[in-house]
Symmetry: C2
């Protein structure tokens, strides 16, 4: 529904309808009410800022992510910016702080058309997708990366989470671990699922009985996570290997091991998904699954700009998988 | 200059001038040219998006910073967001990637009024302030934090860089260091200056001769920085202590020490300005000057919103200094 069509429906001039919607003093209250009623009936969105932006393109894209205190999203943003700068677009960064309500509020706000496209990595709480579908209904191009909404018809850029789940688990097995714990957050998210399925399938493949007690579901609260880990590590059935699906849980693991005087890798081997710059200088140096964060940002941005500039077919749903790398360091060293 | 004043100058109705500036078909070419000529003469900025934003406030503030792959700016942004969310403002993050030309381009763009206020930490290359003054001339509230423009009349939020420079240097001296190297970036920036002056004054106070060869001016290029550090550490007059003014130079120091098989703290003690989450788990754990990053963000945002909402006196220039903390760990341990 354009303003022109609305004017035609009302049998008024474009200028009169436009003024009425802007609440101009030149237009009578009667006419204003008539215009507003019709606009509402026809679901025309009355928002002068949005319409102004729509006309001239905002030349802005939004990146909606859970947090920035993180070694993954930093380089992703740099990757996105490297493409956006070529295209002379601005990048607007929104943080959900892992809170689904904030994510919903941000998507509502973005529905008004202040940006030409959106790139998104879901909060750890996100369960439904109604707020994301609403964006698509408004015709705003949307690309997911890393923490994707698996079930949605939208382009997605991820790493090979399932394979890496297998690789990390097998790496611990090869180095002599028999009881491997899996530390995860956000079981709702498809990446958590895939990493865990990789872990479970690797155990199966090697005929190792799965022990539910070795899977820890952690949260955004570092203090509580440390408690969970401490309790697991203090139990008689302590694990001899830890696979952390996110970086911060490896840091918690190091902290708890120091507290309990457990030696890594002698008492317990550790590997985790991480883009930590200091992984090589930790005590001991940390084995990681390192994601191509910068490239993920570039790839997702390239797909988004194809959609924004309508170069690609609009209906084409791309799914790109960029491989991560297992970097072996001292924290998983075998005897 | 408002549109209303422009209309009065032209002796035309507000509506006609507004339409002329929007290039409406309802207005004759003669009138349009007259309006545009007058607008130009009176320095009225013809920008429909900007004027629309000015009218309804964009409810957006910009944060212009050098980079996000950094343990300092992450928590600063979280601090800023915590205030912005209370005020229901959006935070737009721009990265200069330590490039003055990009910083200038961003400030040009922000002159059009797409944001209600700006918070800024300068790039390491920034030398002049013309681009920053241009923002102030447009009446856009501007607050500096951390890497401030010392000479400008604008609110500034920093930490006690000079005192921390003294404290870090004295801490190394107390632990037995006799030849302390100072690693810095961006000598243009006032924070670099203050940290270095703290270092120099501490040496003077303890009657230690300053050795120019122990001051390394590093850059944004990690590879080159490592070379500079390697060359210093391989020289016969090797330092026995390192004070790194930024986090990444401490990481480089650890990398070079590993290469050259130098033991920290036995051969060389290390302290640096850092908000690294893993400082306690490095090998050896790293002594740091930790900045109150989150609080710096909150404080700077609070001052900015005072200006945006014109609650404070507009001319009042605030300078806030939040103290950092020296955290002693193994990298500076004395014999």
């Amino acid at each position: 529904m354009t303003l022109k069509e609305l004017a035609k429906e009302l049998n008024l001039s474009f200028s009169t309808v436009s003024k009425a919607l802007r609440d101009s003093h030149e237009i009578s209250i009667e006419t204003k009410n008539r215009v507003l009623a019709k606009a509402k009936a026809l679901n025309y969105q009355v928002n002068p800022l949005a319409s102004s932006l729509r006309k001239q393109k905002s030349k802005t894209i939004a990146v909606v992510i859970p947090e920035v205190v993180n070694d993954f999203f930093g380089p992703v943003i740099n990757g996105i910016e490297s493409i956006a700068q070529e295209k002379e677009y601005h990048v607007l960064i929104y943080l959900t702080h892992e809170d689904m309500q904030k994510e919903v509020a941000i998507t509502k706000l973005l529905q008004n058309g202040r940006v030409d496209g959106i790139m998104m990595s879901l909060s750890e709480q996100t369960s439904g997708t109604a707020h994301l579908e609403a964006l698509q209904e408004k015709g705003i191009p949307l690309v997911f990366f890393d923490r994707i909404a698996e079930q949605m018809d939208a382009p997605k850029v991820t790493t090979d989470d399932y394979n890496c789940g297998i690789k990390a688990t097998e790496h611990l097995l090869e180095n002599g671990c028999k009881r491997i714990a899996f530390l995860t957050i956000a079981p709702n998210l498809s990446i958590s699922n895939k990493r865990m399925n990789g872990y479970l399938d690797a155990l199966k493949k090697h005929n190792i009985m799965q022990d539910e007690g070795l899977i820890l579901y952690c949260t955004g609260d570092d203090h509580k996570n440390n408690e969970l880990i401490r309790s697991l590590f203090s139990s008689p059935k302590r694990p001899d290997g830890v696979f952390a699906s996110v970086e911060k849980l490896a840091i918690s693991t190091y902290a708890v091991c120091e507290e309990l005087n457990l030696q890594i890798p002698e008492d317990l081997k550790v590997i985790c998904f991480s883009n930590m710059q200091t992984a090589a200088f930790l005590n001991p140096s940390l084995s990681t699954i390192t994601q191509p964060a910068y490239e993920i940002g570039r790839e997702a941005a390239a797909i988004l700009f194809d959609l924004v500039e309508k170069k690609g077919q609009r209906g084409r749903i791309e799914k790109r998988v960029l491989n991560s790398t297992l970097v072996e360091r001292n924290s998983t060293k075998g005897r």
